[in-house]
Symmetry: C5
Subunit: 89 residues, 5 copies
């Protein structure tokens, strides 16, 4: 899973029927130290993540699994809000 | 999902039978600020996107899901036209 | 789909049984301007592409879909020969 | 499979129901010489890997396979602890 | 498929049950000219590849297909030994 911070919302009126009713957030991938890690992308939300929260994102096909709806084309899904990372060196 | 701008169309006469009747567009991946983000690639269209429009693209296997046809080999599908991105810092 | 140019053929005598009878080509990924875009790789052919032709390649799992044979392990399949790309800025 | 070293644990209280009861570790991808190789990410554990251990990680869809639960959205799963790598030049 | 050279073997005693009995090799991705192309990784072997041999590797989900065992989590499988690459410019 990839770490990311929620940085915005995305409005898409004209879209594939199966995407209706889903919530789309703009997320910025970050490192464990909180630095930006690649370009922001659009992810579906399953945990009502709020703006600024650190989230865990499942990518590609597994992202759709989160919905239990195999016809839903999601390739990036927010599956958890991260409370704490305990690093050890 | 990846952000991209429609920059052209692609003509392919000799192709796999299951691809017949599909519309193929050349898309340029972009960042949320509109800068180019990697090389253009060929994507299938499901929302009648027009030239110059900002679209949301589902990649890999999930791209084929958009058609509900699991024998259709698409690894990049335009699933929505983006109206607005509301960024928060 | 990824754009590539056919630059050679690959001979593999000792291989997985399900790959028998398939045609393998060496392809060089290219940009829409025809510049090299990454390292050449081995792709299966479904459209009898010839040397030097510009082709459209479906990657990963979707590559196997092109054969309708879900036991065939292909992660890069040539699905079309490109006649023309009409770019708009 | 990708080589990585276990460098921490991740606490996620608010998460997708199917992830309940799973153990999440922070892993640092490494080269065969032990150098860091990209950014750390979050992986599910199946072999009770300990902190500091060198592990083998299966990515993307195959990561979920490790659980035999196809509704579990894992895109990075620790499937083995590496005892030894015998390199030959 | 990705070209790689077999550079070693990997010993993993504590591992997922479905991986028991499989042979794991350390492979170095190479270009068609034989130069190193990215970091070495661990691949499952299906063709009894020997050390130093040039092999063709199927990645991601398709790697597991090679075994006809859909519960086997392999994301990199050696499916052929390459005899010859005939390049044309």
């Amino acid at each position: 899973m990839r770490l990311a911070r929620v940085i915005g919302t995305v409005v898409m009126t004209q879209k594939l029927a199966s995407l209706t009713g889903q919530r789309f957030l703009l997320v910025q991938p970050v490192t464990t130290e909180g630095k930006t890690n690649g370009e922001p992308f659009v992810a579906m939300d399953t945990v009502s993540a709020g703006r600024g929260e650190l989230v865990s994102i499942v990518e590609k096909r597994e992202g759709a699994k989160a919905f239990g709806n195999t016809d839903l084309p999601s390739d990036g899904t927010i599956v958890a809000i991260i409370d704490e990372i305990r690093s050890v060196k």
